[in-house]
C-alpha cells in the first residue's frame, strides 16, 4: 500500500560497526582474515571478526591467543573508538545527503551493541528520488561512497524501519515496508528484535511468549499489571507504532575524522601517510554533502600526554586531496611536533564550493571550480597569508599590510581616478633597508644604503606618522622624507624614532 502523504522513515544500518570502521580506514584488510580485539595482549577478547576469519573458526568472545591458534594468518588489531566515532558520523552524513532530517540512533547494549543506525525522514523527499525505492537505493549508495556498506529499510516509523533493516541478509540490500504490510511482517518475528530489557525478556520467556504475534494475543488491559509498564511500550512497537519523534535536523555541521596510531609516530613521513588517509575519508564525506573543505583544524595527541592543535588555512574551499595534504605537510614541516604522535584528528566545518554568476557585459574569469584548487595550491606553494586580493590596510603604520580572499564579483567598484593624470607608484621594500644618513640643518645630506648611495640632490619632508602610543610594544613614530640621490634614484626615507634608526622603505618607480 502506498504511503502518500503519510510519514515515512528510513533506517540506514551498519551491522558490525567496528569491522566496517576498520575496513573504511584500511581498505587493504578487505578479503583477508582479520579480527578486532578489545585490547592488546593475548588475553584480550575478540569483539569483531571478518567473514574470512569466521571460515577459519574464529568467533567473537574468543581470546586473541585462541583466535591465533585457529588461524595463523589472522591479523588482529585493537578496536579504535576514534575510527568508530568517525564512521558513525560518516553514516549520518550519508543520510543527510539525501534528507535534511536525520539522526544517529543511540548505541544499544547486548546483541546489537556493534551496530550503528541512522534514521532519516523520508516524508516529502522520496519524490526527489522517484519514490521510496529510489530513496533507499540512494541512501545505500551514499553510504558506500563514504566507505560504509549499509542496509536500508523504509517503513512508517523509526522502530519498524530499524527492525526491517536488521532482518536484511546482506550489506547494500534495501527493503520497503508498505503501511498495510507492517503488521504481517512483524507478527512472526521473535520478541528479541524489540530488544526488551533482561527482566522483561525473562518474564516473557517464562510465559511462553516467543514471537510478537504471541505478545499481541495477550489481553492488552492486563498487560501492564502482569508484565510491568515496559510491556505496554513493547506491545505498541509490536503493532508497528513508535513513540519516538521523527528525526530532527542536525544543530551544526562539523566534520571530524580521527585515528589512534598503532605505534607512536616520531617522524613526519608516517604521520603524513596517516593524515592522507584521514583527509581522503574527510573529503569523501564532504563530497556526499556537496561541500568542500575551507579551513582545517589539525589535532595531534602526544604519546607522553599533551595535545597540539593547529589551524591550517585554506584560501578557498576545495576538495583537492593533493592540495590539502600539501598544506598539512607544510604546516608540520614549518612547525614539527615536539614529541611522538599517538593520535591525530582533522576537523572542518565544510563550506559550499564557490559559484559565480557570469556577467553579460564583462569578460569571464576562470571557472570557479578550477579557481579554488588553484588558489589553494598557490597558498600551499607560497603560504596561505601570501595569496589574496590586496586591500587598503585599516591602520596608520606604514608597513601595515592587508589582504582579502580573492573573489571578484561584478559589483566591484573601481576607485575614482583623474583623467590623464598618471600616478607615480611606490615600490615597497619589505623589510625596509637600513641606511646611514648624514644630516645638515636637520635634513638628510648624504645616504648610504643597499638601495641608493651618495649625496642628496633634493629632499622634501619630513612628514611625521605616529600611532600606538598607548602600547609599549605597538607604538611607532616615523619621520618620512622624499629624497633624490646623485645616482638618480628617488626614495622614501624614514627615521624611526622608536628604534632610532634610518631606513629606506620605498622607491618611487
Amino acid at each position: 500500500m502506498a504511503r502518500s502523504g503519510a510519514a515515512s522513515c528510513a533506517c540506514l544500518l551498519v551491522v558490525d560497526l567496528p569491522r566496517a570502521a576498520a575496513l573504511r580506514a584500511q581498505s587493504d584488510l578487505s578479503g583477508r582474515p582479520f579480527a578486532l580485539s578489545s585490547g592488546a595482549g593475548g588475553r584480550a577478547e575478540i569483539v569483531s571478526v571478518s567473514p574470512e576469519a569466521i571460515r577459519h573458526g574464529v568467533r567473537r568472545g574468543h581470546s586473541v591467543a585462541e583466535a591465533r591458534s585457529l588461524c595463523a594468518a589472522l591479523d588482529v588489531q585493537v578496536v579504535s573508538p576514534a575510527l568508530e566515532e568517525a564512521a558513525r558520523a560518516a553514516l549520518l552524513d550519508a543520510a543527510l545527503s539525501c534528507s535534511p532530517r536525520a539522526e544517529l540512533e543511540p548505541r544499544r547494549a547486548g546483541p546489537y551493541a556493534g551496530e550503528a543506525a541512522v534514521s532519516a525522514d523520508a516524508s516529502g523527499v522520496a519524490s526527489f528520488f522517484h519514490g521510496e525505492a529510489g530513496f533507499a537505493t540512494a541512501l545505500a549508495q551514499r553510504a558506500a561512497a563514504v566507505g560504509l556498506p549499509a542496509r536500508v529499510a523504509v517503513a512508517s516509523s523509526r522502530g519498524v524501519a530499524r527492525i526491517a533493516a536488521r532482518r536484511l541478509e546482506a550489506d547494500g540490500e534495501t527493503r520497503l515496508l508498505a503501511a498495510g504490510d507492517e503488521a504481517a511482517f512483524l507478527a512472526p518475528l521473535p520478541v528479541d528484535v524489540l530488544d526488551p530489557d533482561d527482566a522483561l525478556a525473562e518474564r516473557l520467556t517464562r510465559f511462553g511468549i516467543h514471537t510478537l504475534r504471541d505478545l499481541l494475543r495477550l489481553p492488552q488491559r492486563s498487560l501492564a499489571a502482569r508484565l510491568g509498564p515496559a510491556a505496554i511500550s513493547l506491545a505498541a512497537q509490536a503493532r508497528g507504532q513508535c513513540d519516538l519523534p521523527p528525526p530532527a535536523a542536525p544543530a551544526e555541521t562539523r566534520f571530524v575524522e580521527s585515528i589512534d596510531l598503532e605505534y607512536p609516530a616520531d617522524r613526519l613521513e608516517p604521520l603524513l601517510f596517516a593524515l592522507q588517509g584521514l583527509l581522503s575519508r574527510l573529503l569523501a564525506r564532504l563530497e556526499v554533502r556537496h561541500l568542500a573543505c575551507d579551513e582545517l583544524t589539525l589535532a595531534l595527541d602526544f604519546a607522553g600526554g599533551g595535545r597540539d592543535v593547529r589551524r591550517i588555512g585554506v584560501s578557498a574551499p576545495t576538495r583537492e586531496l593533493r592540495v590539502l595534504a600539501r598544506l598539512a605537510a607544510q604546516s608540520l614541516e614549518s612547525q614539527p611536533p615536539r614529541a611522538a604522535i599517538c593520535g591525530a584528528g582533522l576537523e572542518t566545518r565544510g563550506a559550499p564550493l564557490r559559484r559565480d554568476q557570469l556577467d553579460l557585459f564583462r569578460p569571464p574569469g576562470p571557472a570557479p571550480g578550477a579557481l579554488a584548487p588553484a588558489l589553494a595550491e598557490l597558498a600551499s606553494l607560497c603560504g596561505a597569508s601570501r595569496v589574496g586580493a590586496p586591500a587598503l590596510a585599516d591602520h596608520h603604520h606604514p608597513d601595515a599590510l592587508a589582504t582579502r580572499p580573492f573573489a571578484p564579483s561584478s559589483g566591484d567598484v573601481a576607485p575614482a581616478a583623474d583623467a590623464g593624470d598618471f600616478r607615480l607608484a611606490l615600490r615597497r621594500l619589505r623589510p625596509p633597508a637600513p641606511a646611514e644618513v648624514q644630516l645638515r640643518s636637520g635634513h638628510p645630506s648624504r645616504i648610504r644604503s643597499a638601495v641608493c648611495s651618495g649625496r642628496v640632490l633634493r629632499c622634501a619632508g619630513p612628514w611625521r606618522t605616529t600611532g600606538g602610543w598607548w602600547s609599549r610594544d605597538g607604538r611607532f613614530a616615523f619621520d618620512h622624507f622624499d629624497v633624490q640621490t646623485e645616482d638618480g634614484i628617488v626614495v622614501r626615507l624614514r627615521y624611526d624614532h622608536v628604534a632610532k634608526t634610518w631606513q629606506v622603505d620605498g622607491v618611487y618607480d
Binding site: A460, W463, D509
Partner: protein, 234 residues
C-alpha cells in the same frame, strides 16, 4: 620520376623558411584575436601599437625610479576597469596597495601572490596561466643581484603557456631577463625628477619608454611620460 616524400618535405621546409618557425606565434596571435591591453598612456600605447599584446610574454625593464612599476600599475588599472581578472606575482615583494588604489586599480580584481623566490614565482605563474581566465599577469622579479635568475628554458615554457592561455604575461625587471622568449620588451629610464615649491615637494617623474625588442617590428621610437606623485596633503 616523382620526388620521394622526404624530398617533398625538404622542399616544403625550404619554401616556408622562417615563417615556419613563427607558426606558434602566428597561431597565438590568431587565438587571442590580436587583442591588446592598453596602458591608458597615449604615447606609450601608440608606441606599442595599441598596448601589450594578449597571449604573449612581454617585459618592462628599467632601473629603479625608471617608472616601470607605474607603467605596470597603469596597465593593471586599465584591465581591471574593463572588468578583466588580473594577477600580480610579486616575487620582489614590492607591491604597494595604496599606490595601486591611487592608480585606479580595482583591487578585488587583482590576485596578489607573494612568492618567496623566483622559482616559486615561475611555478605560480605557470599555475595561473594553466588556469586560464586571467587576462593579464604581472610578474615582478627581484634584482638579479639578490637571487639566481630563471633559466632560458623557464621563460620559453612560460611564453608557450601564455600563448596557449591567451593571457599577457608582463615581466618587470631591472635588466632584461626573458631573452628571445619575449615578444615585446619595453625599456624605461628616468629623464628627470620634478620638484617644486619651497619647501620642496616631489611633483613626479618624467620617464622615457623605448621598444627594445618587438617581434611585430614596431618602430624604436621613444615615448615620454609624466608621472605625478600623490599629493601629500591628501
Amino acid at each position: 620520376m616523382s620526388p620521394t616524400p622526404d624530398a617533398r618535405v625538404d622542399a616544403l621546409l625550404r619554401d616556408l623558411g622562417s615563417r615556419l618557425r613563427r607558426g606558434s606565434h602566428e597561431a597565438a596571435r590568431q587565438t587571442s584575436g590580436g587583442r591588446r591591453h592598453p596602458t591608458g598612456l597615449t604615447d606609450v600605447d601608440a608606441l606599442l601599437g595599441g598596448g601589450f599584446p594578449a597571449g604573449r610574454l612581454c617585459e618592462i625593464a628599467g632601473s629603479l625610479s625608471s617608472g616601470r612599476t607605474s607603467l605596470a600599475l597603469a596597465l593593471l588599472s586599465q584591465a581591471t576597469r574593463a572588468g578583466e581578472w588580473t594577477a600580480f606575482v610579486d616575487a620582489a615583494d614590492a607591491f604597494d596597495p595604496s599606490s595601486a588604489h591611487a592608480a585606479g586599480i580595482t583591487l578585488p580584481r587583482v590576485l596578489w601572490v607573494r612568492p618567496q623566490d623566483s622559482g616559486q614565482a615561475a611555478r605560480a605563474c605557470a599555475r595561473l596561466l594553466e588556469l586560464r581566465g586571467f587576462a593579464l599577469i604581472a610578474l615582478d622579479l627581484p634584482p638579479a643581484s639578490r637571487e639566481r635568475a630563471l633559466p632560458p628554458a623557464a621563460w620559453q615554457r612560460l611564453a608557450r603557456a601564455a600563448a596557449a592561455s591567451g593571457t599577457s604575461l608582463v615581466v618587470l625587471s631591472e635588466q632584461r631577463l626573458t631573452g628571445t622568449s619575449s615578444s615585446l620588451v619595453l625599456e624605461t629610464r628616468c629623464a628627470r625628477a620634478r620638484w617644486s615649491g619651497m619647501p620642496a615637494l616631489l611633483e613626479g617623474l618624467e620617464i622615457e619608454a623605448q621598444v627594445a625588442r618587438a617581434r611585430e617590428g614596431l618602430a624604436r621610437r621613444i615615448a615620454a611620460v609624466r608621472l605625478c606623485a600623490a599629493s601629500r596633503a591628501a
